[in-house]
Amino acid sequence: MVYDLELNSVGKTYPDGTVAVSDFDLQVEKGEFVAFLGPSGCGKSTTLRMIAGFEDITNGEVMMMGQNVTHLPPEKRPTSMIFQNYALFPHMSVRDNVAFGLDVKGTPKAEKNQKVDRILDMFDLEKFADRKADMLSGGQRQRIALARGLVVEPEILLLDEPLGALDANLRRIIQNELKLLQRELGITFIFVTHAQSEALGLSDRVVVMSNGVVEQVSSPKDLYRRPNTPFVADFIGSNTLIQGTPKGASSAGFGLIDTPYGVLKGVGKGDESMAVVPAEAFRIAPQGTPDEICLSGTLSSRQLIGSVGHLKVRLDQGGDDVSIEISADRDDVRALVPGAPVTLGVDPTSITLIHT
């Protein structure tokens, strides 16, 4: 199998010994949309820039379409990069910006014009074609940047927080356009962001990074439901993390863990020392199913946002309040007032056990 992009234990260490990224492994198939997600300074942008060729790679290798590009300069790689600040050429018109890559490559004039016209049309930019790029709004400028990056037909499009400089509304619009565009073109997209919603909403796979290390690579759904590390469990969604001691496996295939709240069951082997309970996994008023875990406590706060109730519950055994997200349509949820006793039920299949 030849991957579009393959990173083999890629790393970067600065001359002063600071490690920016270490042991980054990733295989990306053609047409995949992969997001690098993490807090600022986690090495996600550095990794993207290593893929683009703007940063030296000090360890490992980068392959594109089976070819080793580790030491190729950016202009020789089949990638195009989109920047947060658009990085348009201020001295050129919109059309010249878009045509620039083809121009330099010496594409015949007729072919060049045809391609540029087509992509301007695709991004709804024909009416601005003769204007200077910097007279336009942020959203339009990012469209120009996308048109400019795509017209040279890269195999892989690299996007470095491309929506970071846009306001929330525009961000949503361009986000939708990106997703449609990527499906239509079938080009591999590598997308760097610190915004969870962008990463989870757009991509086929998410790479979560922290401190220069890959924490987890999985589909947005799995990342949400089955975090692998305490960092991911804490960073993605709103989970309750409960420390405990491993208790082996149960007969039903669950892992067991001894916590201050008693022995909990969850998905795992039984040698893990932390239980992760998503806020949405809690139910108020247990159903009485045989595997269900029951916890009791008192409600410490309640906030209704639209149809979702955000509750905080202090468990009888003490510890931090647990966060709960629950549909607020039900009368029993609406009736709850702080101080009221609550019994929580959790289905063990939604609990994930992880190593710490």
Binding site: A52, E75, S80, F83, F89, H91, F100, R148
Partner: protein, 281 residues
């Protein structure tokens, strides 16, 4: 609160300052319109353009010999032009190098700057001694030229350094990632954006070299540059023709400034829009 005293005081100071700054030039300009039998001082006997005609060789005959500036003017302009080209190219190239830290960049920086810090008399004298020792003939186009470059290059370098400081590197990266090699990226992306800075560097190099005196004095050899030959006329008797010449050279400088201003206006419009782009980011 204090403006009752402070404002008029500052206004007076500014007025005096401007008077001292431009007074000599204005006096010079007025005296250049002295009549044929007038001297290089007030009173003006009669207004005329005689000394301008005299300067340009249009006056019929005169007891005063013509000002020997024709050839030295050509030399000075040529020298300033050569200096401008070399200094600007060096300035742009070395500022480009200083965009990334390299080994020894600190000492290299100060070595470059030294060229504008050291006293011209010393450098000129040193160069004269050195060329004597090495048996190199001194001339405005060789020894003086080298010193002019050493002197003006730091100015060009500093200007370009400031320009690159504000330069948004991602624009170049965008170009690379479109498949454009560094040389073409420089020509078609970087250079057009830094062009206003290049113009400033050129203007500085030209004007500094055009009226450079101390360094040239020791190294020009037999053929003098304009500042030297003007100085030379002071040792004999002074006539208003030298004032006329002063007015003409000032006009020449102003013309350069106007051209510079016009070019800048054309390009800074783009530059300011460029910084607007950064603001939006």
């Amino acid at each position: 609160m204090q403006s009752g005293i402070l404002r008029p005081a500052l206004a007076t100071y500014t007025a005096l300052f401007l008077l001292f700054l431009y007074g000599p030039m204005i006096v010079l300009a007025i005296l250049s319109f002295q009549s044929i039998d007038g001297g290089p001082q007030f009173p003006i006997r009669d207004w005329s353009t005689y000394w301008y005609q005299h300067l340009l060789g249009l006056a019929e005959s005169s007891r005063v010999s013509q000002l020997p500036v024709g050839e030295s003017l050509v030399r000075s302009i040529l020298l300033a032009f050569m200096t401008t080209v070399v200094s600007t190219i060096l300035g742009v190239m070395s500022a480009e190098a200083f965009r990334t830290k390299f080994k020894g960049s600190g000492p290299a920086f100060y070595l470059i700057i030294l060229g504008m810090m050291v006293p011209g008399v010393l450098v000129g004298l040193g160069m004269a001694l050195l060329s004597n020792t090495l048996g190199i003939g001194r001339a405005w186009w060789s020894t003086s030229f080298v010193l002019h470059v050493v002197y003006t290059y730091p100015f060009a370098f500093l200007i370009m350094l400031a320009i690159f400081n504000r330069f948004d590197r991602t624009v170049e990266e965008a170009s690379f990632s479109l498949g454009v090699p560094p040389a073409q990226t420089f020509r078609r992306v970087t250079f057009p954006i830094i062009f206003p800075g290049v113009l400033s560097a050129m203007l500085f190099s030209f004007t500094l070299s055009y009226d450079e005196f101390a360094r040239t004095l020791f190294t020009a050899g037999r053929d003098l540059t304009l500042p030297l030959s003007i100085y030379g006329t002071f040792s004999v008797e002074i006539y208003p023709n030298i004032f006329a010449f002063g007015v003409l050279t000032t006009l020449f400088s102003f013309t350069l400034l106007v051209i510079y201003g016009l070019l800048m206006k054309r390009f800074t419009a783009k530059a300011s829009r460029f910084s607007g782009q950064e603001d939006a980011a």
